[in-house]
Amino acid sequence: MAYIGDYEIVIGLEVHAELLTESKLFCGCSTEFGAEPNTHVCPVCLGLPGVLPVLNEKAVRYAVKAGLALNCQIADFSKFDRKNYFYPDLPKAYQISQYDLPLCRKGKMRVMVNGEVKEIGITRVHLEEEAGKSVHSAETILGSDYSKEDYNRTGIPLIEIVSEPDMRSPEEAKAYLERLKTILQYTGVSDVKMEEGSLRCDANISLRPKEATKFGTRTELKNMNSFRAVQKALEYEAGRQEEVLRQGGVIVQETRTWDESRGVTISMRGKEEANDYRYFPEPDLVPVVVERSLVEELRAELPELPNSRMERYMREFGLPEFDADLIASSKPLADFFEEAAKQCRDPKAVANWVMGDFTRLLKAEEIEADRSKLRPRHLVEMLALIDKGTISGKIAKTVFEEMFATGKDAAIVVKEKGLVQISDEGEVTRIIDRILAENPQSVTDFKAGKEKAITFLVGQVMRASKGKANPALVNEILRKKLAGL
């Protein structure tokens, strides 16, 4: 949906990602998540009089790396500025950010949307400090009588990644976010956990008449806690704006908050004046000059990125584009796949297990592939057992789930659970004889030319053997028997 009614949708995103440093951006307080409130706080975080911030070198390196991964130009001269506003999660009453000289600008990113490649421009990537965390007394900020502030998060390094208004549908916005998350994950600069708030997204959306070249008035959406929520909020807001315009109204430039439970965006009144941030150069910090040699050093440190991995999986392992893209979209999953695929003669089989049962089990456990007890060697071993005919593909599903749950080797699971495939002709024949005796009608149907009857009989035999009978052997013997009857 690039269009809604008579209008084209225009979307730009601002993504904040916490950087994976050990200490904060301007002081030595720990960035650890989940500590007791206000225990990772010092006079610098609190902005007490007389303190001086000192820049964390690793945060600068990470921000530049993220910029390089997003094909940005790295500024050789950069500085910090104060963004002034009053909000209780900001103890200094200003946020140290970057205004006119960000570390990185003019990047681009390629995303796949509905099988088509789309290029989305990155306006800038800059470094800034995180704000604290507010716990409101009621469900929503508007309904709260008071709030409680925890400044542990205050001062954690963030990068803000601002896109060009290049997206034309909520689906494109979601695809962009997913790919951006993957790139940051590959680059290793952020752990990109939306549920822990280390990745957050605000969205700007406007509508314009089809064929128009000028952008319409935009609204800014906040408070979306998942990629899905971003997409839903944008869909709702596109619909809302279309209705306003269709009825001859005008869009008010404003910030709107997403109400997940009601599925609507709500105007945040009273913020109109707040957008006058009066940026000025931060006098407590000196400029940053990124030498070309450092840029090249960091560029060399970049890992292979998702798009290049995808292409390589198609080339090296002969995977279809869909499979390659899906696997490459998570670094832990891609690492897992690669390690297993290298040891198997059938990489496509590896891909099927990775995209199918493995992904399903990971989702159910809410973990990433690198934290699974089931390691690539487990899958490799299991595929070998299928190849040798020790277990059937159907039984393999049971083995896989057991290995996932316990981390035991495939051979051990097969032995412990008695899952060895029955390939003994005598034993299979005995089961078949019983099934044929119990189902005379199906036998008659088959003889009358109903090919489907054999599918039923095979199913009965597999059931009687608890799925362990060798399906090829069952088919073969069954057909022979039926022909002889």
Binding site: T39, C42, L46, Y87, I141, K148, P281
Partner: protein
């Protein structure tokens, strides 16, 4: 550029400052004096001068990424007017 009363009132509002009539008058005058001084500087030819980002001739002052002990929670909250459960409690943030 001339600073008007309304500019002073606007900036005061942004800074959450309540100014008396007399203060507003005085600051309007003073701010205009400052801008006049800047206007004088503007007459200098700076075509060949790099813009100054910082008064100190320094760059790239970094600290290594090493965590150190923070302050104890009691010390952090010592100046909090209304602490509760280890948090800074603050009044209603947004009017509904």
């Amino acid at each position: 550029m001339m600073i008007k009363r309304e500019d002073v009132e606007h900036v005061a509002m942004l800074a959450r400052l309540e100014l008396s009539e007399a203060d507003t008058e005085k600051f309007t005058r003073q701010l205009n004096d400052i801008l006049q001084a800047v206007d004088k500087l503007k007459k200098l030819d700076t075509a060949n001068v790099e813009p100054t980002a910082h008064a100190a001739p320094m760059k790239n002052v970094f600290r290594p990424d090493k965590a150190r002990l923070s302050w104890p929670q009691e010390a952090v909250l010592a100046n909090a007017p209304d602490p509760v459960d280890g948090f800074f409690r603050v009044p209603k943030i947004m009017e509904g």
